[in-house]
């Protein structure tokens, strides 16, 4: 993008100054066909080109385009006057060197050429600023579209935070076996499953649920996972009593626990333990899900972390945070901070 614009800038610079002065030189040549005259016009052109480039450098260096239009116009106006003098002073020694005219004529020329250069630089500024404003408008438009797209994507992903089909079908299969083995327990588990399914279906339509409600579902979920992992899965709850009414996004804790099982418990032939804790902090609620295991496969997991983070930001504001860290050898914790609504 930047190189494309630099190329555009230089082509316009050379094309505009070049064509304008070629025209001037042609008229002059028709009146006075001396080669020195043509040479002079080349110097004049190079002088204006150099000085206008210096002006561009200044505009970029001091970020004049970020100023209010009135201040920008003021600064450009003064610059154009100064540069009109500068370019003509710079060019003053050239005509005598080329043997074109005397000092008196030169002084006369100077009076004409300063306002003339000023008009050229002012026109240059007009074109330059117009281009820059246009680019800025287009960039901001593109950023806006990009932002909109990413928000929609995040929303879609948030909706997708539902019961994992892999879990669901394993669960149904286990229930099928349990019916023959322990019908009463199977009936109880079916209740847990329907609770979980109902909750996850409703979660798409609700923004916030109480921590207490979410926790009840997570316990139902863990009971169902216990059918799959049996001895390999154990858990502890460490919930401060005050946090139960705090509002959190639905399925958030469930997702953290599901990840802890998927990446921690399911990977180990001996399974492991999950510790769920929730404490009140000054600004809100800290939810922590610890599991045995290690952080690996950064590629794919990185996406999972981003997903949770984005969802939290979307639903709880920018002060919400989420992180995954190794807390000791073989123990990993997912930590979410959820701010209290102001």
């Amino acid at each position: 993008m930047q190189t494309k614009r630099t190329i555009l800038y230089w082509s316009l610079q050379f094309a505009a100054w070049g064509s304008y002065f070629t025209l001037c030189a042609t008229f002059m040549y028709l009146r006075d066909p001396r080669p020195a005259g043509l040479l002079l016009w080349i110097f004049i052109m190079l002088g204006h080109l150099t000085v206008s480039h210096a002006l561009r450098y200044g505009i970029r260096r001091w970020r004049w385009l970020d100023l209010s239009p009135a201040r920008l116009v003021g600064k450009l106006f003064i610059s154009c006057i100064a540069l009109a003098f500068a370019v003509n002073l710079l060019l003053a020694p050239i005509p005598p060197i080329l043997g074109l005219n005397s000092l008196a004529v030169q002084f006369y020329m100077f009076r004409i050429f300063v306002p003339y250069s000023f008009v050229l630089f002012a026109a240059w500024c007009l074109v330059y600023v117009a281009f820059q404003y246009f680019f800025r408008y287009r960039d901001s438009e593109m950023n806006r579209l990009r932002l909109e797209a990413s928000i929609t994507e995040a929303e879609l992903r948030a909706l997708k935070a539902q019961v994992n089909p892999h879990f669901l079908f394993n669960c149904l299969n286990n229930l099928r076996a349990l019916v023959a083995e322990d019908a009463d327990k199977a009936r109880e588990m079916l209740l847990h499953l329907s609770e979980l399914l109902r909750y996850s279906l409703e979660a798409a339509r609700r923004d916030k649920v109480s921590f207490e409600e979410e926790l009840r579902i997570v316990e139902a979920y863990l009971a169902l996972e216990k059918l799959q992992y049996e001895k390999r899965l154990s858990w502890r709850l460490n919930i401060a009593p005050g946090v139960l009414p705090v509002l959190i996004p639905p399925m958030l804790l469930q997702q953290l626990v599901e990840n802890a099982i998927k990446h921690g418990i399911a990977q180990d032939t001996h399974g492991g333990e999950i510790v769920i804790s929730a404490t009140a902090t000054k600004s809100g609620l800290e939810v922590r899900v610890e599991n045995t295991g290690t952080i690996k496969e950064l590629g794919r997991k990185g996406f999972g972390i981003e997903n949770v983070r984005e969802r939290l930001r979307l639903l709880c504001g920018s002060s919400a945070s989420f992180d995954l860290q190794t807390i000791s050898e073989g123990r990993v914790a997912a930590i979410a901070h959820i701010p209290l609504p102001a």
Binding site: N170, N173, N174, A177, L178, E181, Y229, E230, T269, G271
Partner: protein, 238 residues
């Protein structure tokens, strides 16, 4: 038919045993909760067929198969059809989704019976022959390759590269290990770098270095080292 169940959930194993109890000719010769147990049981009880869950703790079902010298017929069981399964649906014996539908299971078993029947008699050798299958996984793609289709094995560090069809995947086994497992009447170690399937040789010519230059039917050109050349001539004349 001796069947080994490889599945980490006890209830899922119970469910499968219950379903299989309806089939008179099926004998469950063992149950494994993970890949390690499965390897031991495959070696000790020599099952005709594996029921294999892909998601296992530690090494998964694919890693288990890749570690075996030859893959017995396999029916994959999974809770949800991941694309890893779909990737090789065509050349796997079959795959079932849990909970398993009984009619779907008997169809899969019929296929397995045919395959096991055709393997019988050829099998039960200590060395791997042309009809043996190996499981090969290369990234997302998997194959059950019958050894008669493999033209060439090439050393690649501690791994070996297999040449079959248009594919050249790596398997996590050394060429020395393969040499010790393959039937030397059929697969010949022509040099430090290569083992060649004798049935795939299309022409033989003397080479500059005093060995032999082989051209395979797949177009590959490989060299028999000088040391192996006389043994190779003997093997061919037999």
């Amino acid at each position: 038919m001796k069947v080994l169940l490889i599945e980490d959930s006890r209830l899922a194993r119970a469910e499968m045993k219950r379903l299989l109890s309806a089939e008179a000719d099926i004998e469950i010769c063992g149950e494994a909760e993970n890949a390690h147990q499965a390897e031991t049981l495959i070696a000790s009880s020599e099952p005709d067929l594996l029921f294999l869950d892909i998601n296992l703790p530690g090494r998964d079902g694919f890693e288990l198969l890749a570690a075996l010298d030859s893959a017995p017929p396999v029916i994959f069981c999974t809770a949800y059809s991941e694309h890893a399964v779909r990737a090789f649906e065509q050349n796997a014996l079959d795959y079932l989704v849990k909970p398993v539908e009984p009619s779907r299971l008997s169809r899969a078993l019929d296929k397995a019976r045919q395959s096991v029947e055709s393997d019988r008699g050829v099998k039960k050798q200590t060395k791997l022959g042309l009809q043996d299958r190996v499981f090969v996984r290369d990234g997302e793609r998997c194959w059950f390759v019958t050894l008669k289709d493999v033209r060439l094995f090439e050393v690649e560090g501690n791994y070996s590269r297999l040449y079959f069809g248009t594919e050249r995947p790596l398997i996590p086994k050394s060429l020395n290990h393969l040499e010790s497992r393959l039937d030397p009447q059929l697969f010949f170690r022509i040099s430090r770098r290569h083992i060649v399937n004798l049935q795939w040789i299309s022409s033989i010519a003397p080479s500059v270095s005093g060995g032999l230059q082989l051209t395979l039917k797949g177009g590959e050109e490989v060299e028999v080292s000088r040391r192996q050349a006389s043994l190779f001539r003997e093997a061919l004349s037999l």
